[in-house]
């Protein structure tokens, strides 16, 4: 009995995870408006190769932001993802180049580094009772410092396995595949697993969650460790695209990742957020940057425009939600 009902349930669950990833979402309108404007402004925008470019360029931030989604849903913030991405990629390259271990080990080492760094932040939040802002700000600094120590400030070449992450597989760029797979996994974790549902509860009302018997600390450590693993993957993706791990890689990406999550409709107060929204948020950012390059906007004015577009994209979403509410 149980097995016969379990099998179709699993099929449905994967499909519905994909569905929820792609389903209509907050900033979607903002993204579409942006794309339409660029389509009108330049013929180079809506071409196959350019859309693929955007996908590749969005991948790093998107993967970071998927990990960030766990943290923000659980009511925290993770400022360390950029540094942890760099540290993990560097550790991965170092294991391969300096320690001379086999290539697949380099991927494992990278992911383990990310998980460890994330778990340390998580322990600081859960047991050290540090505000997540502080725990991860500390980790931002520590991880970047360790990256520099490990690399002595110089780029290190990556293993072929990591470089594969930046290559193409039968014409399809691997970063886009990684983006899709990690997105589906993140959506699945948030929607279908116990710990995922518990993240929403902890972020929504930590006291109510605690009184319901949810092990808040375990959830918090899991959340930050997951964000660390996602950061590691993003770091290796970036390193793979460049065939080298850079000491300053991904610095400042934390703000982009948080912005992607928030543009996607999550609340920094916790308890609200969807992976599909985060993906759209990351695409909004990638499309803006791509579009401004295509239009060859002066780099001074670019920053002005990026700021305005972010405000407008979220503004459209706010308006849209206000209208449907009442």
């Amino acid at each position: 009995m149980t097995t016969t009902t379990a099998a179709p349930a699993k099929q449905r669950s994967v499909r519905s995870a994909l569905g929820s990833l792609l389903s209509g979402n907050g900033a979607l309108v903002g993204l579409l408006v942006l794309c339409l404007a660029l389509y009108i402004a330049t013929p180079a925008f809506l071409t196959g190769p350019n859309l693929v470019n955007i996908g590749i360029q969005a991948s790093t931030i998107a993967v970071l932001a998927f990990g960030m989604t766990f943290v923000i849903v659980a009511g925290g913030i993770d400022l360390s993802v950029g540094s942890v991405a760099a540290l993990s990629a560097m550790a991965s390259a170092w294991i391969f180049t300096s320690a001379g271990l086999p290539g697949w080990m380099s991927i494992v080492a990278g992911l383990a580094t990310g998980a460890l760094a994330g778990a340390v932040s998580g322990l600081g939040v859960a047991f050290g009772r540090l505000p997540s802002f502080i725990a991860t700000l500390a980790m931002l600094s520590v991880a970047r410092g360790l990256t520099l120590v490990l690399s002595d400030g110089r780029p290190i070449a990556t293993s072929d396995e990591v470089s594969f992450l930046g290559s193409r597989l039968g014409g399809v760029p691997v970063p886009i595949l990684v983006l899709l797979v990690t997105g589906v996994i993140a959506s699945f974790v948030l929607n279908r697993t116990v710990v995922g549902r518990e993240m929403y509860a902890v972020g929504g009302n930590v006291e109510a969650a605690r009184l319901s018997g949810i092990r808040v600390r375990k959830v918090l450590v899991t959340v930050f460790a997951l964000a660390g693993v996602y950061a590691a993957l993003a770091g290796m993706l970036l390193a793979g695209r460049l065939n080298s791990a850079q000491p300053q890689a991904a610095s400042g990406y934390e703000l982009d990742a948080i912005a992607a999550v928030v543009i996607g409709g999550a609340s920094l107060a916790g308890g609200v957020g969807k992976v599909s929204g985060t993906l759209i948020g990351a695409l909004v950012l990638a499309v803006i940057r791509n579009g401004l390059n295509l239009l060859n906007v002066s780099s001074f004015w670019q920053q002005v425009v990026i700021g305005l577009v972010i405000a407008i994209a979220v503004g459209i979403d706010v308006l849209r939600r206000k209208n449907t509410r009442h």
Binding site: T42, A44, T47, P49, N50, N53, I56, Q57, T60, L148, D152, G153, R154, P155, L238, R241, L242, N243, S244, Q246, P247, Q248, A249, A250, R289, N290, N293, L294, L295, N296, S298, S299, F300, Q302
Partner: protein, 288 residues
């Protein structure tokens, strides 16, 4: 007994670098460290992380910390003047390295000329593309003097070639990953580009990555700095040229000058370290 180090009896000198997360400045440090070890100086290296105010703070800390002299690699030439003013008024020798220190009468400046380097880059690129065609420029962090000077030199240099058109100028913040993304996007909107000038090797290597097989055959990239990776790319033919500064030489000469000053010798106000255009022909001279 300023700058005395109780443990070793050595004089200590502070080297304030604009950043240490760029291999170029790591090389400056290494050159300086080697020279210091050789000459029996203690070298305190501080990293301003590309922030002028941090640099000013660090110089102030060096003075109270008892340094015998300050070697400064300015984050920004204009801002560094105020930063070293207290050191100068304390009669500490101040030697600039790589970038000028404006508005202060520093002891000496060891530098390579970025504007001249930009011009050389323009010539190298023009030579590679047969003095005609469309090119794009990848800028460094907007507002930094390195970006300003190299960009200015390149613009002046390229103006001498009427058949070359700069079709796009975009920033990639001296970063390899951004260089890759921005170059990809610019190639999308300007498919007929034949040359790229990047204001440092990191961005140039990103552009090479964006070009893939086309690098060095259809599209020619010129970088700046002559980092290890940059030189390797020149050797591999993916980069046509890089404007090599000699970072280790910069660091070394700065320390040597400092030693001379501390020993009471007179030194010249300017100690130029040549920049060289590195191409496939002479790259082996630069690779160790």
């Amino acid at each position: 007994n300023r700058g005395g180090d109780a443990a070793s009896g050595q004089q200590s000198v502070t080297l304030s670098l604009s950043t240490l997360s760029n291999p170029f400045f790591v090389d400056v440090r290494d050159g300086a460290q080697d020279a210091a070890d050789e000459l029996g100086l203690t070298l305190d290296v501080v990293d301003a992380q590309d922030d002028s105010a941090t640099q000013a703070d660090q110089v102030a800390n060096a003075i109270t910390g008892g340094a015998a002299g300050v070697i400064i690699n300015a984050v920004d030439s204009d801002a560094a003047g105020a930063a070293v003013a207290p050191a100068l008024s304390d009669d500490l020798p101040v030697i600039g390295v790589d970038r000028a220190v404006n508005g202060a009468d520093i002891t000496s400046l060891v530098s390579s000329d970025n504007v001249a380097g930009g011009k050389q880059a323009a010539d190298a690129l023009a030579a590679a593309i047969g003095e005609k065609g469309k090119v794009i420029v990848l800028q460094g962090v907007a507002g930094t003097s390195a970006s300003r000077d190299r960009g200015q030199g390149f613009a002046e240099g390229i103006a001498a070639y009427p058949d070359i058109e700069v079709v796009a100028t975009q920033t990639a913040n001296f970063d390899r990953a951004e260089g890759l993304d921005v170059a990809t996007n610019l190639l999308q909107s300007n498919p007929d580009v034949v040359g790229i000038f990047a204001e440092n090797d990191e961005m140039a290597l990103g552009a090479v990555q964006a070009l893939g097989d086309r690098a060095g055959s259809d599209v020619f990239v010129v970088g700046f700095d002559g980092t290890d990776d940059g030189l390797a790319a020149v050797k591999a033919g993916t980069l046509v040229a890089t404007i090599a500064q000699q970072p280790k030489e910069l660091g070394k000469q700065a320390v040597q000058l400092m030693k001379q000053v501390l020993d009471g010798e007179q030194v010249a106000k300017d100690a130029p370290v040549p920049v060289q255009t590195v191409t496939e022909d002479n790259v082996t001279d630069f690779l160790q």
